[in-house]
Symmetry: C2
Subunit: 169 residues, 2 copies
Amino acid sequence: MKVLGVDPGSAATGFGVVEADARGALRLIECGVIRPAPKSTLASRLQQIHADLTALLDRHAPDVLAVEDAFHGRNARTTLVLGHARGVILLAGAQAGVIIAEYPPAVIKKAVTGRGAAMKPQVGFMVARLLRLSKPPEPSDAADGVAVALTHLLRGGRPALVQLARSPA
Amino acid sequence: MKVLGVDPGSAATGFGVVEADARGALRLIECGVIRPAPKSTLASRLQQIHADLTALLDRHAPDVLAVEDAFHGRNARTTLVLGHARGVILLAGAQAGVIIAEYPPAVIKKAVTGRGAAMKPQVGFMVARLLRLSKPPEPSDAADGVAVALTHLLRGGRPALVQLARSPA
């Protein structure tokens, strides 16, 4: 099973593609960050996020798009902008016809570190350990994207909330 | 000049297409509501909003997409979902290569009623008066979408915030 994990952010969106083989061995295929030009308009930044996500879905053809579901602890403006980014990410998944799974931040931290209130460096450390990498993926947004993909695989594909995408129009 | 006005909502997204002729006379071309099936997944609802908006942009080829910029007075969860809807709406505009203008709610109310704190029925009433309609467009979400388009035209195309969309990829 191949999973594309995404950690949407108002400035940077981290992603990671992780595959589990038949014996459950985990392998990192690709990870990185989508970071639209900060000076461009919101609409242009959304267009880039959507285009890059669509390209990742095309290239890797994952079975599942796993997305962090973050909605608290931020101010209203940041939450709204984050919502815009998540909107075009979920849209890309629906258009690609993949299964979409959403995980709250605490579930992701708990799945990869055993502790729902883990700090960022610990998430990176455990991502590296679980994937037998010499060091955590960088920047930390990329590691966070990988953590979302790992969460889906470590929980045996039982997401907190699964969205079955409508088939592409 | 032809303007597609959109009032994004977490449940229903109102829209209106208004044209101003060379003498400034205003004419309502179409209005309505995009109301995705409430029981479908968020991703599916976003896909429908995006597809319907894209179809409206194709059909009417407006010069401007005017969108209500609402980000306050709601709880975090509602704000996040509203952000998702706005995200795919702005994306559709960017993909169509139109100019995108955003107006805060108070600016819209002030433009069509003269009062930034006007109530919904007054907005509908003034929309009908300005467009010489026998009664306000229904449902009220549709009237709100028309009000956004009217705002852009009544202000002479000077939006509170203009986004110049990147040309389609």
